[in-house]
Amino acid sequence: MMKFKQSKLAGRFATLGTTALVAASLALTPALASAAGKKKAPPRPTKEAAKAEPKKEEAKPAEAKPAEAPPTTTAAAIPAEPTDELILSGDNVVAVQPVFMVGAGAEAGWYDMAAYVSGAKVDKAASAEAAKAAIAAPKAIDKGFGFAGASSAKDVRVLHQAIALGFVPSLVIAGQAEKAKSLATGLVSSMDALSDLTPETQESAKLFAALGLADKKVKEELVGMIFARAMRAGMKGIADGPQRAHGYYVAGVWTGMSLLFASLGGKSETFADLAEPICVLLDKDAAFGGADRTIASHMRTIAAELKKERPAAATIRGEVEAILNVKPD
């Protein structure tokens, strides 16, 4: 079994706690050393394989390595350990299940985004770029869509609808209420595009549109909460199906929202990191076609830009529009 390399917490968001140290290097009191060390070392997992029924709440960890020799000749041909290359290569991936925001900082991570949106001042030039892209979105939605070998026209309509939904917060926070209301009104009338999504996911879409229709000033932290809800609903929707439609939904919402983060004028690593699980989905999952790899490439460019100290809004707008204009395979 490979050991974890002890390292400082990576990324800009860090839990403060626990400076994790190996017991050997920590100046523990004798009592603690005893608890952490050999005398009272935690019990090893049993060798019995766990009843790992996913719905079961308590289970025992299994000893997985070395593998017990399976009883059939078929299985006996299997090596005791995979090569690193086999695990690391991106070949023959037939399914991808993204999981967003896991960890002690996960809840705070969503609020971190909300706080960022609340606290930062919108850059006017950047928000103008967001508005330009938002204007392009309805045109793309009206085109009819037919790209991507593995995707149905309806799936791609979900993508474009979701991108446009993601634009709404940019316009609202930039104070472009009329544009936001106009876009949201159009989106409400085309919600049938999302009819294949789970009810929870459709609800999250309605909340996005409602942001643009609100007469009162929107509390910025709502944006982070609605975004969190959309991503979680989409993640569960990918597992429950239909996979492609929900995959496009999370990709679209993230892409649309990227213009908001661009308009805030600083780097947004937690938001940017959300892109990678989605890109792996578009890149590798057999349910997605070649055109989707192009979309993943554009999303990665956006994510890289958002990790810069001063993201270029024009670059991000260009990438978003490129996604809206991706052609069929």
Binding site: F4, L16, G17, P54
Partner: protein, 343 residues
């Protein structure tokens, strides 16, 4: 309450020495609690998950006495600790063997101290009608920075964000690693505003669970009998909550990947349930381009990894290219739910 306790003197003429004592007591009360006594540096001995095994480790954190028997800290400080000791700023040492409550979502744990501490009852801030009214209030944060003992930080509340059941208090006190679980007092240390839990390096802001949310966990702790740390965090059997469950069928050579975005530290749990027999699978855990763990499974598997920090990881299952049969099953990914163990 503290004043009422100390000054319950009626119907007698006060003499000068007594008056002086009273004045001193009143001054102390108005100045708040003695944070040097109320706050503790914590050292924990426990373990990390490493797939299908564990590794003993130790770590540091902070905590605060809310009364003579009870310390509040972060769930991520108490989690997986089999023993904890604490020390206040005067050098008084404490031992904690029992946990009374654990809330992973609020990141709050309540510990019972062995014996009795000579500390004040610490009032917990009640939720204002509009918590955002707290913005601008001065705060005092105490934390066991780098495990070097208690450090003192000052700042002010900058925001309160999040839905009502899970609000976060954002403040500008520049706390750092080791401060997890430490108190965020008002500027005079007269009441507890929250429990520090994380920092945002980019925003240069700190996050705390507000005291009114902490109160809910404390209320639960008051009703609890207490669970030994060694029982609550016993690694041989662990409780889990799977966020995603998905079925799969893999032809020989095919893979399923679960890319996971991790924020902060995490105990990532992966469960595999086979639907086919005698169809062993390769598994791997990858961070970036680095392989952290790999192996072969031929039976149902439950594995957990304590991940060292934020980033994108990927859990991978492969039907070996040498296999001759399709492998089907279900995979789940999620987190530990220790709260199910604590009563």
């Amino acid at each position: 309450m503290r004043l009422a306790t100390h000054l319950a003197i009626t119907g007698k003429r006060l003499h000068l020495p007594l008056l002086l004592v009273l004045v001193a007591l009143t001054a102390t009360a108005c100045g708040g609690v003695d944070w040097r006594k109320q706050t503790v540096s914590l050292q924990a001995a426990g373990y990390q998950f490493q797939g299908t095994g564990i590794k003993p480790v130790g770590w540091n954190g902070s905590g605060v006495f809310i009364d003579e028997k009870t310390v509040v800290t972060n769930a991520h400080v108490a989690g997986k600790a089999l023993k904890m000791i604490g020390k206040d700023d005067y050098g008084t040492k404490y031992t904690f063997r029992q946990i009374l409550a654990y809330d992973g979502d609020l990141d709050i744990a309540v510990l019972k101290v062995q014996g009795t501490a000579e500390v004040d009852v610490l009032p917990l801030k009640e939720r204002p009608d509009d918590p955002k009214d707290l913005r601008g209030n001065k705060v005092l944060a105490i934390g066991n920075t780098g495990g070097m003992g208690l450090s003192r930080y000052t700042g002010e509340v900058t925001n309160v964000v999040g839905k009502r059941s899970q609000e976060n208090l954002v403040h500008s006190a520049d706390i750092s690693s080791g401060s997890s679980g430490g108190p965020l007092y008002d500027g005079d240390a007269g009441e507890l505003y929250g429990i520090n839990k994380s920092i945002n390096l980019h925003l240069r802001q700190s996050f705390a669970t507000p005291a009114w949310s902490v109160q809910k966990v404390v209320d639960k702790a008051r009703r609890a009998g207490g669970t030994d740390l060694t029982e609550a965090f016993k690694p041989a059997e662990f409780p889990m909550q799977l966020d995603v469950k998905r079925s799969f069928c893999l032809e020989p050579g095919q893979k399923i990947i679960a890319p996971v975005q991790v924020v902060g530290t995490a105990d990532l749990v992966a469960a595999v349930k086979f639907q086919t027999e005698n169809t062993p699978l390769f598994f791997g855990l990858v961070r970036g381009n680095s392989l952290m763990s790999k192996g072969v499974i031929s039976k149902d598997l439950l594995a957990a990894w304590t991940l060292p920090g934020s980033g994108v990881y990927a859990a991978i299952l492969v039907n070996p290219p040498q296999a001759t049969a399709k492998a089907c099953g279900a995979v789940g990914v999620g987190r530990m739910a220790w709260e199910k163990r604590i009563h």
